[in-house]
Amino acid sequence: MRVAVVGAGPAGVRAVEQLLRAGIEPAWIEEAPDGGGRIYQRPPPGFARSHRALYGADAKRAQALHATLDALKPRTDWRPETLVWNIRPRDGVLDVVTRGTRPGEIRFDALILCTGAMDRIVPVPGWTMPGVTTLGGAQIALKAQGAAIGARPVFVGTGPLLWLAALQYAKAGASPALVLDTTSFLTKLLATPGLLWNTPTFLRGLRYTAALRARGVTIAEDATPLAIEGEGKVAALRWRDSGWREHVAPCDAVALGWGLKPEAQLADLAGVPFRFDAAQHNWVPERDAAGRSPVPGVYLAGDGAGIGGAEVAEHAGARAALALLEDHGRSVDLALRGHLDGRLRTEARFRAALERAFPFPAHLARRMADATILCRCESVTAGELREAARLGAPEVNRAKALSRVGMGRCQGRVCGPPAAEVLSEALGIPVEQAGRLRGQPPVKPLPMPMVAP
């Protein structure tokens, strides 16, 4: 049986571990030069910072995952720096390109997709200016390149990553000018009982906030970003506090992010149906608790199958591999299976509370001014998308055809969710009815030299 695993983050590593235990040597495909995923991304060779410095409280988990990763790689058909840009599910083929130039095909009988997640963005006027990045991007710059996005950065958004990224910057020597949380303290407080399902993580969150306050960082909750200002580069963030007073925070960089969204284009191309998860406010590929998709032979794990975080991803990766093995007539470790099922159930409750604590501020996207650029690749404004609604676009794919939203480099991975909000508001329909942009090959831009040598 030929098994392919896409992704070598926490989910991919634990999936491959179980496959090898059962004697299956998978093809293991990773887009980055090395595994670890975004959360445990490794610095390039030659960078010497300790796990403790890089991953903080997660250092032990990161270290364990990296050790497993390094032990597993030589036992698989390891393909780093390889992009899966298309799936032909009927033929059981992944179309890949390695190091941007070398084309290839990988054949599979079964497939585990551990494709991870990306930042979820709400466009703010000025967000296309140099100096603006995502929370995840800011974190990667620090972790993988030892570079800061600025000396006086502002962090805007909501969710655990907001506080973590700000604290990591403070510890690395930057002076965060402001941490702006769009969620109110009360909302977070009300979710507290649920958050106790994972007490260590919950306490860690409180510690981050306290540490930032101790360092004198301005913290605003229930606040609204109004505009990123500057001439050609970021100079300030204009924002409004919970009492509707306007402020200007001088800064030299802005990191934005409102939680994560699954990177699920490959599941889409594999033919997996999607559903709108109201709690996450995300479209997620359909799967059962073990990670089986409705498409035979296609399994999903980690944040790409619905946001759960790194711990969940490790459990889900192992669990999906066990499901694959069972479905193909192999016996599995029943004790392990039971343990994983239990952990995944508990973590799901924690995750549900986390979503309540840090809700996606759909209203910010829906109220976006007409002049604000919504799709930065094609320079399409919110007003132009609303015009598509007036022309009769009943959902986002039609709106894309009429307005060019989502036609650019990112293929709507960045602007898709806010576009659906703007459209649903313009049409007066629930956001799930506005739909989602369908995945199309190539899922990411494909170098011409590859197809035209």
Partner: protein, 369 residues
């Protein structure tokens, strides 16, 4: 008041509806199975080209070109039309001789829009073209337009002229009533009309069959590539004398590469699929002619489904089995430019039974032999 039903909300259906609705005494309804511009009308390469037309198509194409020059007068929008010219490059002396013979053939028929240019002029027109290009056949005043914008402009103009456009209305039957009118049936309604137009594109043969008429016609699904945005390097739309290529840089800087390379097509599910190995062939041709695109990245690929006749020119004319029904389909991948004039011709056929526009070569009688 006379009633007309147009089946198909693509460019040809909308253009027919627009022209007919502007004639006094006509109430026009467009029935579109999905939505306006769903297939090739909305996603084609947007070439507005007289250059290299089948000799039988040139006359209609020339009429259409005049209409493209003044689109705001016709539909109140320029449809993104830019007359950057169309250039077919010669990559060898043999190519150049072929193009010279072609230009001679066109001139002999009395047309002057195709012009052979030398190495120096082709470089002036296409500064980024590869050094091996020795000359070209050029039509100045041709160019390209934005297909989706064009479809929406025709839709708006047709509606303003009084036409009704019904989306999500797939036709299941056409019958003759006792009083001699035609009845067009959809799952939700029936429409009685004196005249009906079949502009159903890749599905037009199915509509013809509803009228008991068999017209031989296949389908095609031409594939397209679009690259990321590049600095401006090319104004005209470019083809090649002996290789399948259509190449243009859009206003936003992206490069659209096509040329009739065929994807997979499934008329039953109304879907078509890109075949990447064939697309690679198109990309290679493009990179050989314009070395500066060789390093660009491909952002998107797509296909659009369209009807293709055996001789690759359309069918325009009244049904032989059901008088009152008029066909206009089978444009075989180059119908976009013909849209304005073909719609006028079909509208005149429907209203008056005759037209002065040059559509005689397109009669389906040519397949009878």
């Amino acid at each position: 008041m006379n009633r007309a039903v147009v089946i198909g909300g693509g460019l040809h259906g909308l253009s027919t509806a627009l022209h007919l609705a502007r004639m006094p005494g006509w109430q026009v309804t467009v029935l579109e199975r999905r939505h306006v511009g769903r297939h090739s009308s909305g996603v084609n390469a947007g070439g507005v080209r007289r250059l290299g037309r089948d000799l039988r198509e040139i006359a209609l194409s020339v009429v259409s070109a005049e209409m493209w020059q003044d689109m705001p007068a016709l539909v109140g929008d320029d449809c993104g039309f830019t007359p950057g010219g169309q250039v077919k490059v010669a990559e060898s002396e043999a190519d150049l001789r072929k193009l010279e013979a072609r230009a001679e053939q066109v001139r002999a028929l009395g047309w002057t829009h195709e012009e052979v240019v030398d190495r120096a002029e082709v470089r002036r027109l296409l500064p980024a073209v590869a050094p091996h290009v020795v000359g070209a056949l050029v039509t100045r005043g041709d160019g390209s337009a934005d297909p989706m914008r064009t479809v929406m402009a025709f839709r708006r103009a047709a509606q303003q002229a009084g036409a009704t456009i019904v989306e999500g209305a797939g036709v299941t039957a056409i019958e003759r009533t006792a009083t001699g009118t035609l009845r067009v049936v959809t799952p939700d309604a029936t429409h009685e009309a004196e005249r009906v137009a079949n502009c159903a594109g890749a599905w037009a043969t199915t509509v013809a069959r509803m009228a008991g008429e068999e017209i031989p016609c296949g389908v095609k699904a031409s594939m397209m590539i679009v690259t990321e945005r590049l600095p401006r390097f090319c104004e005209p739309t470019v083809g090649a004398a002996s290789r399948a290529l259509s190449f243009k840089q859009t206003a936003s800087g992206t490069v659209v590469i096509g040329g009739g390379h065929q994807g997979l097509n499934d008329p039953e599910t109304e879907t078509s699929t890109v075949l990447f190995d064939r697309l690679a062939h198109a990309a290679r041709i493009a990179a050989e002619l314009f070395p500066c695109v060789a390093g660009a990245r491909i952002m998107r690929t797509w296909t659009g489904t369209e009807a293709r006749t055996a001789d690759e020119i359309p069918v325009i004319g009244e049904s032989t089995t059901m008088p009152g029904l008029f066909h206009s389909f089978g444009y075989s991948g180059h119908g976009f430019q013909l849209g304005p004039a073909a719609g006028a011709a079909v509208a005149e056929l429907m209203a008056r039974g005759a037209t002065n526009l040059p559509i005689a070569p397109f009669t389906q009688a040519r397949f009878a032999a």
